[in-house]
Every structure is written in C-alpha cells, then in structure tokens.
Symmetry: C2
Subunit: 287 residues, 2 copies
C-alpha cells in the first residue's frame, strides 16, 4: 500500500511522523473521509470546505492546495485500488509539539492521505437494516469539537465498541440534554408521516456531506426535511429511520434497542432516497 | 534531547511512529504527566495505577513494567536534565490501525516517554494568584473520556487558548449541567469558611494525583475536605480557590472573570496546603 505524506508518495511502512507531533500527544488534528466512485471522489469540494472550516476553528493551517490533494488521491488510486470504489482519508495534524499547550503552534502540520479499496458495508445492513443500540456515551454539544471532524475520535470508537459488545451493528448517540444526535460515524434521519427530520447541528453533531446531499434530494423530490430537536421516543415511533455516511451512503435502521422501527425495513422513503442518492452520485461524477 | 520509544533510548528526531497509528488517526491513546523532583518522580505508583485504570477502560494493553518505565525515566533524566526538576510525560498509543473503527486493536502500542527540564510556572501565579476566565468549552460528564487522561485532549487546549485570547492565565471549565469541574490541565479547589471542597469525579473531570494528595493533607491537618457539586457562584463567593496540578503543585486563583476571590490571594489555607504539599514531596522522596 502506498500513501501520501507531506508532498511525497511512499510505502505505508515508510510514512512515519514524530512521536512528539501534537497529533499523537493531543489528538490535535482533523480529517475527512471520502468515497471515491471508480476513483472519483464524490463532492470533494464540500469535504474540503468542511476541512478548511474545521481548520479555522482549530486554528490549524497548512491544508495543501485542492489540486495537490486531488493529484495525490488520483495517483494513490492508480497504485492501490486500480478499479472499483475507494475509501479516502485525508488527515492533517498539529505538527511537532513546541511545549505550547494551547492552539498556538509553531511547526508545519503533517498531511497524510490514504486511499484503499472500499470494502463496503455488509449487504444485510441494506437488505434488512441495521440493528442499533443507544450508546451510553453522550456527545458534547457544549464543545465546538462536536461539530468538527477532529482526530479526537475516541467517543465515537467507544460507541461503536458498545454496539459490538451488545451484538448490534451500530449505536445512536444522544447529547448531554438527551436529544438524538448521530450514529458512531454517520448522521441520523427519521421519517414520520411522509416527512423527513434530522437533528440540527446545534445538538452537537458533525454535519456530514452526505447529510447535506440527502437534504438537497428531499427538497428536489418535494419531501419536507427539517432539522429538529428529536428524542429517542421520536426515533422509536418513526415510520422509517436511516443513517447517512459518505462511505456507506444511506443505510436503513431496522431496530433500536430491540424495537423495530416502522412496519418494514427499508421503508419506501428510505428506498427512494437511496436510489436518488446513487443517481446523484452517477450524475455528478459522470459515471 | 533523548527520548524513549518502545524499549530504546534515541534522539527525539529519530523517534518516529507510523502515520497510520490509531494515536494519530483517532487520538487513541493515553498519557500521564509527572513531576520528577531532582530526578525522582513523585507518586509514580499512583500515576501508573491511573494509567492502568485508563487502559482498562479504553481496552488498551502494553504498558511496560514499572521497572522499565522507571529505568527509562532515570536514564532520560541523566541525559536531558542532569539536575533540578523534570517534566515527565508517558504516552501509550493504540498502535497501527487495522481498519477496525472500535476499541478492538490487533497491533502493539507505541510507548513514548519524554523527560525534559521542568520550566516551572511564572512566579507571579504563586505570588498574586492566577487570573482565570470561565471557558465556553464544557466538559462532558456523559463520556467516560472525561475521567480518563486520554490523548483526546483538544477540549483542554481550546480552553487554555480561550484564556490566552482573553488575557487570562487559565480557564475553569463547567460540565454540561453547569457545575464546576476543573482547570484546563488541573483540578479545582475552593475554601469556604475554613472548609475545603472540590468537584466530584461524577461531574466529569480527571481526578489528579495531586488532587488526591491535597485531600490526604486536608485530612491529616484536620481540615474538612469534601467532594461536592459546586457552581460558579460557589467559586465567586469562595474565601480562597486554587488549582492542583502535578507539575505546578498548588496554584492560587486570584480572580475569576475579573472578580477577585476572597480578601487576599493566596489565602491562609492555600498557603498552608502548599507548604504541606512541598513537605510531603520532600518526605516521600527523601529530599
């Protein structure tokens, strides 16, 4: 496997960074994960806009020009993947620690790009829907980090582990006030009486690029989609529910804590939005 | 500067870890900072107990034996510091990422130890007390991470930055329910009518080794010390307030958001506990 590190393509085993990097010591860094369809990243511009916005919030600098990132992804795709879809991760760290325990940094970031074959989610998640539990780990709407895809990602890994431990496929997370926020690495949507709803950013969640595309598709198809404060009861009583995630697209939710959601899974609006999303990807990427 | 990485002593510039380490990608790791007085780490046993407890919670394994850590610190002290006090940081990461986005890991950790001369806090912080603001970043008592010294440390760095931006020395953080928790890298104590109080761990804070020592000293000196739910009003109306931190020991708080705390700073109980803490260090380390 080849990777990109600070301007050069190299073997993954040669891509080394200082143990004293702020990314190692404090999780000081930011990332994006993108799905590249037949080598073409979907909505790369939106992912890069989010990356830049997060960098502003964290006062990180040093994102390479869009062209350089695009070239690196293209070259890594040819070297590592060749055909089919790819999983892309772009990571930027805070650089060598200079003793300053704040957001002030004096050294350049490490910029790391991985492109691997996209393995896909299990087919049954799309066919029968995901079995979901409610995580005991709350998201923290009281921190700007809840809205930034930072390398401080342990809460999400813990939520996913909790789901595995309980024999489930994934977990939904509540915020500190008890409102629904997101999945362990996805956004959450509910369908109720033909209307779509998703928790608002102010609830403490990472607004995904796929979430945004789903909201656009709803508008295009004349389906109401609103950001709301939603509760676990709203989810349990929904007609349909699904996750949106850049890699896995739209993934239906079959049950939450053992309670089935709606009468069948995937439900009609989930099916319609999934198909619309795939059509959107094909259209935008000329596939 | 020499450092320890995975069993070997080497130049800091040679201490490299894979960019694909989970510590880089997710902040998946844990650390301890310890002050070594004339080369002798204070309460190393308690720091290691906390490290092991955090590793259990995060399902991390691979902490080296106590003797190996002690030898590494001793050797790095001789090489980097020679005389005087030292700042010690022990870091353990989640190891090479294998694609598993949970707490399941298949590769050994990277274990990294730094020992540097301890620079000390500014004298005026001890003489006139710290000027403190209330951070807009809340700690998250709804996540186990709030009680683990994990490498997901950006919230703390943001709180410190906020203090700098506002011309203050440090920040106190509230939890999501609005209760006092801790400083950006320290624990918080109040003194009211001769009694000492500190927020309880259930508020979402990292219980420090120095915090524990202060509680022991209170007991020894017959001063009541209780863990409580404390509010910002409690702090503003306190007779004295101070931070406890392994490196800086006991640091008085002069004012919060421009309001002076008590009638003079440092107050009498803060002075007494500071002296008692230094005596405790000398006694335990045979200095």
């Amino acid at each position: 496997m080849k990777v990109y590190l600070n301007g050069a393509i190299m073997d993954e085993g040669e891509a080394l960074i200082p143990a004293s990097d702020r990314g190692v010591l404090f999780g000081d860094g930011i990332f994006e994960t993108v799905r590249a369809y037949s080598g073409k990243p979907f909505r790369m511009d939106r992912h890069l806009e989010r990356l830049h916005a997060g960098c502003r919030d964290l006062r990180l600098s040093g994102v390479p020009p869009e062209k350089e990132i695009g070239n690196a992804i293209g070259e890594l795709y040819r070297l590592n993947v060749v055909s089919g879809d790819a999983y892309v991760r772009i990571t930027l760290t805070g650089g060598l620690f200079d003793g300053n325990r704040s957001l002030q940094r004096s050294n350049p970031p490490n910029v790391y790009i991985m492109v691997k074959p996209f393995e896909g989610y299990p087919h049954e998640w799309y066919e029968r829907g995901m079995r979901v539990v409610v995580s005991g780990v709350r998201t923290n709407e009281g921190s700007p980090l809840s809205r930034i895809k930072s390398n401080n990602y342990l809460d999400n890994l813990m939520a996913k582990q909790e789901a595995k431990d309980r024999g489930a496929d994934d977990a939904v997370m509540l915020n500190s006030s008890g409102f629904l926020t997101e999945g362990s690495s996805s956004n959450l949507f509910l369908v109720r009486r033909g209307k779509v709803a998703t928790p608002g950013v102010e609830c403490g969640l990472l607004p995904g690029v796929t979430r945004e595309a789903v909201m656009e598709l709803c508008e295009e198809y004349g389906v109401t989609c609103e950001t709301e404060f939603l509760t676990l009861d709203d989810l349990l009583q929904a007609d349909e529910a699904f996750f949106s995630v850049s890699t896995g697209e739209i993934v239906p939710i079959a049950e939450v804590e053992g309670s089935p959601i709606g009468f069948r899974c995937p439900g009609p609006i989930t099916i319609r939005l999934s198909a619309a999303y795939r059509a959107l990807v094909k259209k935008e990427l000329f596939l």
